[in-house]
């Protein structure tokens, strides 16, 4: 299988740290308190790392939450491509008032934008955040919706047939970003 390591553990760490610095810089002196919300699955540990790093840099870690988008997908039960499986429903934890925080959504890969659309919809079922921003580790292009990230770890031009896989130490045991070429699976 043709899987290429695009980002190794060291680069990975530096990339996440750089995003954390950018977030701190942009939110310095802002009236709105910041909150970090990870999108299941990989966005959750990434959000936790960002929150911890921001805490390190500023002396105060922002509130951390997680959001699951399974119930907000745009393709539920539409009828084609069904096989005997259902999307996993993850846990949503937002134990701070999102109506009084600038919410930073965090995900690993930005692709069509559909996941982010769903996450924003889910978020608004919990309140009315005054500001929502998006941080992603990888932007691989091919957007199908007018969605744009505020913080990007790495811009990665890809072909549609390729596959970007992010491994996180918390889940997969190691930090890396892989690119699998078309037909590899």
């Amino acid at each position: 299988m043709a899987a290429k390591v695009l980002v190794d553990a060291d680069q990975f760490k530096r990339t996440v740290a750089r995003i954390a610095h950018e977030v701190v810089e942009r939110h310095a002196g802002a009236d709105l308190p910041l909150a970090i919300v990870g999108i299941h699955t990989n966005g959750v540990p990434l959000a936790a790392r960002l929150a911890a790093l921001i805490g390190e840099f500023t002396g105060q870690a922002p509130p951390l939450g997680s959001i699951d988008i399974a119930l907000y997908r745009d393709d539920v039960g539409v009828g084609e491509g069904r096989r005997h499986a259902v999307p996993v429903v993850g846990e949503t934890v937002l134990d701070f008032d999102i109506s009084h925080h600038a919410v930073l959504l965090v995900d690993d890969v930005l692709y069509t934008g559909r996941t982010i659309r769903a996450a924003v919809d889910a978020l608004f079922d919990y309140g009315r955040p005054p500001l929502v921003q998006l941080a992603v580790l990888v932007d691989r292009g091919h957007r199908e919706l007018p969605i744009r990230p505020d913080y990007v770890g790495k811009n990665l031009p890809t072909a549609r047939g390729e596959r970007v896989t992010v491994h996180l130490a918390e889940i997969a045991g190691t930090d890396e970003i892989l690119l699998e070429s078309a037909g590899a699976r």
Binding site: H40, T41, D68, A70, L71, Y72, R73, D75, V76, G77, V78, G79, E80, G81, R82, R83, H84, A85, V86, P87, V88, V89, G90, E91, T92, Y111, T112, R114, T115, D121, D125, Y126, R163
Partner: protein
Amino acid sequence: MKRRSLLSMDDLDRQSIARILRNAYRFTEVMGRENKKVPTLRGRTVINLFFEASTRTSTSFELAAKRLSADVVSIKGAGSSVEKGESLKDTILTLNAYGPDIFVIRHGGVGACHLASRFTDAAVLNAGDGKHEHPSQALLDLYTIEREVGPIDGLHIAIVGDVSHSRVARSGILGFTTMGARVTLVGPPTLLPWRAEEALGVETSCDIRDIADADVVYVLRMQHERMGDGGYVPSLREYASRFGVTHERLRPGQRVMHAGPINRGVELSGALADDPATLIERQAANGLVVRMAILYDLLAEPSAAGIAEGVELADAVAA
């Protein structure tokens, strides 16, 4: 394309049951929000078809579908064309013309849901067919035990009373044993299924004292309406004195369940029915999230595009 149905607890393996129970727990979070509705099943159509009386099941299925944003039509046997003598087959064929995604059916006849599923590509969810099965009840019972008592694997569950006429018992036994519980059926021999030990993998007893070892005592309703001319028990009073579950017959720590409606003073004493330490109220309350999880499980299969985008999937087993 034909959708997956839930006709019997036999349709679900351990992994599928665990997935539904896990999703039910996720829905408790949704029910705790100010906005209790999620858009998951918008555009899907649910037809509830209840040929038999029901409060809990029909209400919770209707509300579950609405909380998931599906369009719901609820039809009762009384007041529909069924009263004019329309057959189940014709009713399904007629309603099928409106393109439903799922039929939720309660019917007095054993196998009615199996029959219905032959005439539609929509999913069919058995909400009780005669004395046969009632899978959504078994799932909410499993969920209630898991939340309130603990992991089901290794628990001892005594099912007391009219097992032979009980769809709750049949589905319960299948679900409990699949999840690794030990099950003992307790009741008069006339109300226990023949050779239950070999057929169902359970123990049986005709002595109420044998509930002593159980962690959970599941009390069944005496099904007068399914007993015909009777002859199963000498009298309800006699039954109550021999098998009625009371505080005196329980030891501390045992949890009591009942699917309702309760015949007070027959299978369950009035005092016990009113005791908040039983799980009976929890069962009714949990019906909603569990039925949301079942609808989600049958209707939320993702599109090819979603699969290509790499949505994380939990495998389901074909019915």
